[in-house]
């Protein structure tokens, strides 16, 4: 089965029609803007769109898609462009559909425990609005201050609380979306139980903009925990921290946060955050629990015990909320901080069952050493989601080649350990070549048929998932 993929031929006529829909000032075709929207946060990935269009409503999105579908022009939906897999790069040209103007938080309903918002709302804004009424929106990806809800849903973002609370898909109750031909659909809604029809909102979660454009999301909220506590433990080596993670998780505790950093990452993030991290330690494990204060105290104590049993050099519980917040802020800043070492940071997010984490860490180190690549590893240890990150000089082509070879082996190792090539960053462009190895031919063929059903002319984010 061959899915037609649109190629970019965006003429004056299409441009004028689009300007008629969203207003001329919301269509950008100047070289500077096209350059800006040629990239997201993914290194080395670049694709120049022909137009950037900023719609303000579901109706405008539908009209834009009808025009694009008729003209067979690619449409690449985009939020704030914090994507890490090249998922929002217009590598076949076309229209970048930036949804940042659709940024209204429509409602927070404490009775139904839901939030309804447009896709351009920033994740942190939603989280803060929920907090203000005593509720919690748990998914908190590292980019939460910049990233949008629409992007989070389309990529099925994770975050630091996934271990206990799950990821974005666990909070999407309903969506409104526009299909490639301009038809508007709704799936799910404000209900916890609703089995009328296929679970399309789940399908759209992580669809990476290849099936439909999400224009409204209904999200589940939970009561905010009474309190939270955070602590840290230093280890001689990352594998020790990995073993401590397995011990914690089999000791009857489900922490809200269990994050680790190796020595390379500790040094880089301390250079930015200056919060007194011990850059000489081999690994740092950050752990946290929330809920009833008594439970927090008990669980942090159990986690500390497990860490000591695996040879932790030191264990410490944050004394103030500020100290805890600083620690988590530092953790979120690890990736960009790594660029202090070298200008190019190639990041992956291979994921393994949590019981295999120490094994995977050893494999990564062995692969990095053999390919002579400097790799810093950090990640969501509690859910087996690792972020091995190569730091390199982009001018050193040989090193870039070695890094890619190392990552190919890291993906293979993850699959072998019954893991995944991507836990939360998405397949995008950069992992598409590895997808079939993980899913198998029949599965990939099914993805293509699903794509065809949603988007017969292949205009939505072509050349990515389902292609």
């Amino acid at each position: 089965l061959i899915v037609t993929a649109a190629v970019a031929i965006v003429g004056e006529a299409v441009r004028d029609r689009l300007a008629g829909v969203v207003g001329a000032s919301h269509v950008r075709a100047d070289a500077g803007a096209l350059l800006t929207y040629s990239t997201d946060s993914t290194p080395l990935q670049r694709g120049r769109p022909d137009l950037v269009v900023f719609p303000a409503s579901t109706e405008e999105v539908a009209a834009v898609l009808r025009i694009a579908d008729e003209a067979r022009v690619p449409v690449i939906p985009r939020g704030s462009g914090t994507n890490l897999s090249g998922g929002t790069v217009a590598h076949r040209g076309g229209i970048v559909l930036a949804l940042t103007r659709m940024n209204r938080l429509l409602e927070i309903d404490p009775a139904d425990l839901v939030a309804v918002c447009e896709p351009g709302v920033r994740t942190i804004e939603l989280a803060q609005a929920a907090t203000a009424v005593g509720l919690l929106f748990p998914p908190d990806p590292g980019s939460q201050a910049t990233a949008t809800i629409g992007g989070n849903v389309a990529e099925c973002s994770g975050g630091l609380r996934a271990l206990k609370y799950g990821v974005t898909r666990d909070y999407v109750l309903g969506v409104q979306a526009v299909l490639a031909g301009g038809e508007v659909i709704r799936s799910g809604g404000r209900l916890v139980k609703d089995v009328a029809g296929y679970d399309l909102q789940r399908l759209l979660c992580g669809s990476e903009g290849t099936l439909a454009v999400i224009t409204e999301v209904t999200l589940r909220l939970v009561p905010a925990p009474e309190g939270s506590g955070t602590g840290m433990a230093y280890f001689r080596a990352l594998a020790d921290a990995g073993r401590a993670v397995s011990r914690v998780l089999s000791s009857g505790v489900l922490p809200v946060t269990l994050e680790f950093l190796d020595q390379v990452c500790i040094g880089a993030v301390e250079d930015y955050a200056r919060i007194g991290l011990d850059a000489g330690a081999g690994a740092l494990l950050i752990f946290g629990q929330d809920g009833d204060p008594r439970v927090i105290g008990r669980d942090l104590e159990r986690i500390a015990l497990a860490c000591r049993a695996e040879g932790a050099i030191s264990v410490r519980v944050a004394e103030s909320p500020q100290e805890a917040a600083e620690l988590l802020r530092a953790r979120r800043a690890v990736l960009p901080s790594l660029s202090r070492l070298e200008p190019l940071t190639l990041l992956e997010d291979a994921t393994v069952p949590r019981s295999r984490i120490a094994e995977m860490v050893d494999r990564i180190q062995e692969i990095a050493g053999r390919h002579r690549v400097r790799i810093g590893t950090f990640g969501h240890a509690g859910d087996g989601n690792l972020h091995p990150t190569a730091v390199l000089d982009p001018a050193d082509e040989d090193a870039v080649g070695r890094a890619h070879a190392a990552f190919a082996e890291i993906f293979a190792a993850a699959i072998e350990l019954r893991g995944s090539i991507t836990g939360e960053h998405g397949v995008g462009i950069v992992k598409l070549a590895y997808l079939e190895r993980q899913l198998g031919a029949a599965h990939v063929a099914l993805l293509r048929r699903i794509k065809l059903a949603f988007d017969p002319h292949g205009i939505l984010n072509p050349g990515k998932l389902g292609s």
Partner: protein
């Protein structure tokens, strides 16, 4: 000619993570990434690599639309020195005949110490209390001495230990931020020679520029200096400590004071706690949500792009009105002028005062003079 515009190490630092987007006032206004720090760095790279020409309309527009507030720097985990990149950009684009004409007169006026002195002679400035150079000396800002001579008078009253030498020129911030980096650095070094020891500045913008050229240990902004000093802050009776309950009248009479941070002071020098702690001693300090954000003055921005400048200011005025402040304190003359004009336009009762003026009055504020007509 294959010369480079930007220092490669500075330009290479950005990994395009986008953490800067929510901090940028022009991204906030437009929602368009081209008008964000990440977007502008992309444009810088494009002109450096020859993908776009230097005078591409979008490139020209964005180099000017940027406020230069550097709010993107503290939130950047990669440590990109955006302010330095912007200076290099404008140095290239605005040099010589490309300099916006409105700027030329300003740059001319402050290019020589004699001209700067003339600005001061027009108004009664701190010269009446001129004091010989000592180990710490007050810098008399060039526009401040013409527009707000009361600031240096208040500063010398608060810090009688400071020398106030004559023959001071401009610090060069104006030149550095507006397309003449070399002259900006030269002027800073000249001022560094005219003022030995620690240079105490009443303007956040000047302090940050001087610190950038002369090194942070040579420079202190006034609030830093006062906080660092041993003796009490105010020349009058020290504010009651822990006696609030026994002095209910005094407490209820405390003025409600907000602060507008100086962008370069906060984002460039990391000074934001000091002015707040000083204000808390003389009034009821109210932290406005936008206190840390640029007010739109942004050096010459209010002159070059008055409409955008007013759009950036609007949110600040809304918050000042909602908080019903008695005083909004500033730590930079550009913000002083910007807020004074904005408050006047809206007819708010709030007084705009430099931090030093608020402190020297020790919270005993006279009735509001600016802001005509509003309730008093």
């Amino acid at each position: 000619v294959t010369d480079t515009i930007f220092t490669p190490e500075l330009l290479n630092r950005c990994i395009a993570c986008g953490f800067c987007l929510p901090a940028c006032p022009t991204y906030e206004l437009t929602g368009v990434e081209t008008s964000s720090p990440r977007g502008r760095i992309g444009l810088m790279r494009a002109i450096e690599d020859g993908i776009l020409v230097e005078n591409d309309p979008t490139v020209m527009e964005e180099s000017s639309f940027c406020l230069g507030c550097r709010a993107c720097e503290p939130v950047c985990p990669a440590g990109v020195q955006y302010g330095a990149l912007l200076e290099q950009w404008r140095d290239r684009l605005w040099r010589g005949r490309h300099c916006p004409w409105r700027l030329r007169a300003l740059l001319f006026a402050v290019n020589r110490p004699s001209r700067v002195r003339l600005l001061g002679l027009l108004r009664r400035h701190a010269r009446t209390r001129r004091r010989a150079a000592t180990e710490a000396n007050l810098m008399l800002g060039c526009f401040e001495r013409a527009l707000y001579p009361q600031v240096s008078r208040a500063a010398t009253a608060l810090a009688p230990e400071l020398g106030v030498p004559v023959g001071q020129g401009c610090c060069g911030a104006l030149h550095a931020h507006n397309g003449d980096l070399a002259r900006g650095e030269e002027l800073a070094r000249e001022l560094g020679e005219a003022l030995p020891g620690t240079i105490v500045a009443t303007a956040g913008g000047c302090a940050a520029h001087l610190a950038g050229v002369l090194g942070g240990d040579r420079v202190a902004e006034l609030s830093q200096w006062l906080a660092r000093r041993d003796h009490p802050v105010t020349p009058g009776p020290a504010p009651a400590r822990g006696g609030g309950a026994s002095q209910p009248d005094r407490v209820s009479a405390r003025p409600r004071i907000g602060l507008q941070d100086s962008c370069h002071l906060r984002n460039g020098l990391g000074v934001w706690r000091e002015p707040r702690e000083l204000l808390e001693q003389v009034g009821e300090y109210v932290e406005l949500p936008s206190a840390a954000g640029c007010c739109g003055a942004a050096g010459t921005y209010a002159i070059l792009r008055p409409r955008d400048s007013a759009r950036v200011l609007d949110r600040h005025l809304d918050e000042i009105a909602r908080a019903d402040l008695d005083v909004i304190a500033v730590v930079n003359p550009g913000c002083y002028r910007q807020l004074q004009q904005g408050v006047g336009r809206r007819g708010l009762r709030t007084r705009v005062m430099h931090l030093s003026e608020v402190l020297v009055q020790d919270g005993r504020l006279e009735p509001s003079r600016n802001g005509g007509g509003a309730a008093l």
